[in-house]
Amino acid sequence: MDLAEVEFLAEKEIVKIIPNFSLDKIYLIGGDLGPFNPGLPVDVPVWLALNLKQRQKCRIVPPEWMDTDKLEKIREQERKLDTFSPILSPYYMELTKLILNHAADNIPKADEIRTLVKDIWDTRIAKLRLSADSFISQQEAHARLDNLTLMEINTTRSFLLDSLNYMYKLHSNLQPGRTRDY
C-alpha cells in the first residue's frame, strides 16, 4: 500500500468544523452530511474539512486528542514502554500532518503539537526497527506487534519484506552452493 493511499484513508476520519456558511444537508454516496449552520460545529470527513478550509469556508476544531497535555502523556508512556502503547487516534500522523499543514491557524499550539507528534512517531518507528532487527537476528518465524497504526505498518512493510526476500535469496543461494560442494 502506498503512503498516499493511507493518507487517503485517513481523510475519511471525522472532524468537527465550524462553517461560516449555511447549507442544507448534502447527500453523498458515503452518507449525508450537514446541515451546515454558520457558527455551529458540525461533523464532516477530513477531506471536506480541508477543502472547505482552503476555500476559507470553515474553521477546524482540533480533534480531542490533538492536545499538548494528552500528547505529552502519550510520549512519556511511549518512551517508558518497550512495546507499543495504544495510540490516541489510528491516523494520528496523517491527521496531524493534514490538519496542521492546512489549518495551523485553527489549532492552538500547533508547533508544539507538531513536535510532539513527530517525537511520538520517531519513538514508535525506532521501536519498530528495533523489533524488526531482533526479529531477523533471532530468526523468528513470527512475531506479534500490537497497537501499530496503518501508516507505521506501511512505512516498514516494503523495506522489511524486501530485505527478508533478499535474505531468503541469499540464504537459498548459499545452500545450493553447499550442495555443489558435496
Binding site: I18, N20, S22, L23, D24, Y27, P38, G39, P41, R59
Partner: protein
Amino acid sequence: MPCERKPMRYGHSEGHTDVCFDEDGKCIVTCGSDGDVRIWESLDDDDPKSINVGEKAYSVALKNGKLVTAVSNNTVQIHTFPEGDPDGILTRFTTNANHIAFNTSGSRVAAGSSDFLVKIVDVMDSSQQKTLRGHEAPVLSVAFDTSDEFLASSSCDGSVTVWSIESQTQVAQWKVLQKSSDVSNAKSLCRLAWQPLSGKLLAVPVDMTVQLYDRDTWTHISTLSDDLITQVVNVVVWSPCGKFLAAGTVGGNLLIWDADAKLCIERQKHEKGFTVCGMAWHPSGGRIAYTDTEGCLGLLEGVSSSSSSSSSTTQSTKAPARKETNDYDDLFDEDDDRVLDEGMSDSHSPVKKAIMDDDDDDDDLMPSTGRPRNRGAFLDDDSRDAGSVKLDKLPEDGSSFILPAVDPIVSRPIYDGPMPTPPQRSFQPGSTPVHLMHRFMMWNSVGIVRGYNDEQDNAIDVEFHDTAIHHAMHLTNTLGHTMVDLSQEAVLLACEGTDELASKIQCLHFSCWDTHKEWMVDLPQGEDVHALCLGQGWAAVATSALMVRLFSIGGVQKEIFSLPGAVVCMAGHGEQLLIVYHRGTGFDGDQALGVQLLQLGRKRRQVIHGEPLPLSRKSYLAWMGFTAEGTPCCIDSEGVVRMLNRTLGNTWTPVGNTRDTCKSKSDHCWVVGVHENPQQLRCIPCKGSRFPPTLPRPAVAILSFKLPYCQTTTEKGQMEEQYWRSMLFHNHYGFLSSSGYEIDNESQTRAEKEQQELLMKMFALSCKLEREFRCVELAEVMTHSVVTLAIRYASRSRRMALAQRLNELALEKANQLQEEQQQEEEEPAYQSVVQNSGFSHGYREYRGSDQMNSRQAQVESGCNDEEEVEEEYQPEEQMDAEESTDASRPRLNPFKKGAKSPERPSPKTVSRGGRANPFKVSVAGKSSGSPAGQPRTTNVLDSMTLSNRKPTALSGNSKQGKAPVLKPLAPKSKSKTQATLLQMSIPKGSIKKQVESQSAAETVKETLVATPPASTENTENSKPKTGFQLWLEENRKSILADNPDFEEMDVIKEGMGRFRALSAEERLIWTERAKGDSDPKKRKREEGKEMVENADADEGSVKKKKPLDTSAKLSAFAFNK
C-alpha cells in the same frame, strides 16, 4: 452546625498559597505559586483582579493600602492596594522569605527567610532595618506582638523563639517542633499567631495540637487539641476579637476553639482533604478564608454566629439565611456604586447600599469588638447621605444585632423585614462584562463582536458566522462604544455620554444599497443609552431618561415612548421588540422585572403589557432574547431557561436548565442562541466562570431542552414531557403563519405526526395500565384519524366500552371537522384577504403555474404516504382524513407565497436551493427539505423525466403510472437519476427546447383531460384509488344528474350511501378493480395520448436527434438497479 463551608474554587495554580483580607474585609487577597496576587471581591468573583508580583509568591500581607509580598527573587516587595502598582522593594535576603507579617499599626513588617534570618523593616523607610540572628535553620513563620514589643518566630531548627524587638535579643525559646532541613521538608508551616487586642497568648501549632504560651511568664499554659485532628497543624489564626482560635491542618481539617473555654466549637473538613496552608479571619470576624496547597480558595461562613451562639440565639438563627442574600448582594455592590456615580438612580439606591453594607457587617460582627467599629461606619454613612430618613433606623438595626437582649433601646422602631435588592444593571444579552479588557460585546446568531480595550488598541472586531452576510470588519473604537447589537442588516453601536460628549448611537448599515453606509445620532445632553437592539428594518434604543427611541435602519427617527422603569435589556427579532425593565424594587435578593413585547409591523400593537417577568428565587436576568423562530426566551442566573407560551395566554414555561449539564457549582453556560426547530440551546460551557474569555476561541456546545415534568424517570412522565415539549416548541408555527411568515410545512407536519404518535403511545400505555378514563382524555386531544387508530387498538385489546366511547368521540370530531370545512367553504375569499393582506390576488395567478402545482403535489404525496396505511382498511374514514388535510392545505399556501414578497425576507436562511443532488437518498414522495425554495433545475429535470418515460417504466411503477395526468411534475427518485445522466449527454440548448415543448404538451394534456377545477379534486386523485372512489367516478354524473344542486361534499355523501346500498359482490368487484388496476385514468391517458401524439411529435424528434450512447444507457441501468 450553623457554620457554612462554601465550595472551594480555583484561585491559583498548584502549590503553596497564602491568603489575607483587606482591612475592611471587602476583598480576599490571595497569592500563589503562579506569582500572582489576586484580589477577590467575593468567593463568587469570576474576574478577580490579578497583580503579577514575581515568579512565585510565598506570603502576602496587607495593611494601610500596602500589599507586601515575599517572592521568589529573594525580595520582599510592596505594591499599592488595590491598584497593584509596584511601590519598591522593602528588603532582600540571600534566599526567599517564607513568611511576612505586619505589626498591629502597620508601620513595620517582619519577614522570616530561608537564610536563617528574621528582618524587621520600617514600611515607610526601608533603611530602618533590624535583623534578628539566632535561628539555625530556615525561618518558618513570624508574628508581631500586639504592643510591638516582641516578635515570635518559628524555624526548621525545631525552635520557637520570642525576640525583644528593641534589643534584638532572644527572650524565650521553646524547642517544641520537629527538626527539618528545609521548609520543603518541614512537617508543618508552623504559622504562629499572637492573640489580638490583649496580646496575652501566643498560639503555636505543635504537632497535632496548638499550644498556648503566656506572654509575660513565657510559660506553656494550655494545649488545644481535638480528636478530629489526625495530622499536623499547619496554620493558626485568632479571631479579631481574640476569643476564638482557628487552625488548619495538613489533612485539611479546619477547627475553631473557644480559647477561654478550650472548647472546640467548630469542625470542618476541606472538601478534598488538601493541606490548608493559608488562613485569614475576616476583620469583622464572620468568616474565615483559607487556601490549600492545590491553589484553591475556600470560605467558611457564619463563623461568628456559630461561635456566639451561646450569647445570642436570635442572631445565630437569622444569620445563615441572611448570608445568602449578602453573597448575592456582593455581586451587585460594584454595580450599585456605579449607579450612585451616575446619579440616575432613584433616591432609594444609596440607602439600599448603606443597608447592604451594614447588614453585611452586622452578621459578621463579634459581640464584643464589632460595635465600635461598626459605629464608625455608620457615622461615615451618615455624613455621606445625611438627610436620608431610612438610614436612621440602621444603626438601631445594627445594635439590635450586636446587643440582642442586654440593651433594648427601642426608642425608634426597628426594621427587620425583607431587605430590598439592588436593581440589576442594564446589559446587552450575549455580551461579557464591560470592565474586561478583551470582551465579547455581542455573540448572537448572526455573528460575534469582540471589543479590545488595552494599551495598544481600542478596537471592535465584527465577525459574521455566515460570511455570505458580510465580511469581517475591524473598527477603531474612538468613541468608546460599550454596547453593540448585530443583525443581518447592520451593526448598531452606542456609547454612554461623558462630561463633554453626548451619548452617541452609531449604525453601520452594511446592507444599505447607497454609498452612505453609516449614520450617527447624538442623544440629548444628559441622556445616556442603556440598552439597544436591532430588528428587521428598525433599531431601538433605551435611555437613562426611561425612554425607548425607535429608529428606522436608515436612520430616520420614529416613535418614542416612555418606560415605567429603568431598562434592563432589550431584544429584537423581525418585527418584535422585547423590553425588560425594573418594575419596582425587589426584596431579599429577588429582582422585580417587567416585560413588554411590542409588534412593530404594519399593525403596531403591544402583545405583552408590562407583565412581571418570572425569575428563579434570588436570581437575576442573565440572557434575554428571541429564539431563531421568534419566540421570546429568557434565562436567569440560576440557568433556568423560560420560553413564552403564546397558546397559554403568554405565560412563561420553563423549558430547561443550563446548570444541569454543569459538573461543578462554579461552572456555567453562557447562552448564545436558542432554536426551536431543531430544539437546540446553543451555549458556551464556561469552567469556573459565568462567561467565556475571548481567547482561546470558545466552542459552541448544544444542549437539549427538558421540561421539568414530574416523574420523568417513568415512561409515562417521559412521554408527557416529550409531548408537551413538542407542543410548546411548535407553537411558533402558529405564530409565524399568523404574522405572515413562511413556515416549513414539512417539518410542521412531521412535528404533528410526532405528537400524534406520542399520544398514541401514551394511549397504549394507559390502555395497558387499564386506565380507560385516561385513554379517553388522551383521545380527546388526538386528531380524528388517530382516534380511529385508537379505536382499533382498543377493540383489538378487547376493551369494548372504551372503543364505544372513542367511537362517540370520533363521530363528534368528524362533525366538528365538517362544520369547520363548511365554514371555510363559505368564506374562503374573506379569509385569504384577511390573512394575506392584499396578496391573495397574486396568489391566484401564481397558483396557475405548473411549478406551484408540482410543489403542492409533492407535499401532498408526502402526507398521503403517511396516511395510506389507515386508508386501506378505513375507506370511509379516509374521506374525512382527506378532507382534513385539504382543509389545512389552502390555509397554508398563502403564506408560502407571502414569504416570497421582497419586503419580508424569511427569518431562516436554511431554505436554499442549489443544485440537484444525484446521490440524495430520498424516500419516495418526500420532498427535499425545502418545499418553498424548490430549485428550478430539479423541475426541469423532472419534466424531462416525464417526457422520456417509457411505457415499461410506467407499468413497472403503478403509483407513478396513475399520477401523470394531474401531477405532471411529480419527481420520483429513480427516474431522477436517469434524468441527470440524460442531462449529461444532452446539450443544454436542446434541453431547453425539450422543456418548452414539454410544457406545451402538458398544457394540451391538461386541457384535454377534463379535470374539475377544484383543488380538492386534485389531491384526492393523487392518492391510490379505493373501490368506492372508482365507483364514485363512474357514477358521479348520474348523481349529479339526479341532484344538480349538490356540492362536492354532498355528492360524496350521496355516493357513499349508494355505494353501501350495492350488493356485496358488486362492491367486491369495484375493490378488485381498484387493486388490479390501480390507475383508472391510465385508459383515459392512453386515449388522450393519441391526441397528444401530435403535440409530442416535435418532442419525439428532439429525442431522436440525441440517441443515448450505450454507456450512458448502461450506467442508467446500473443506477436503476
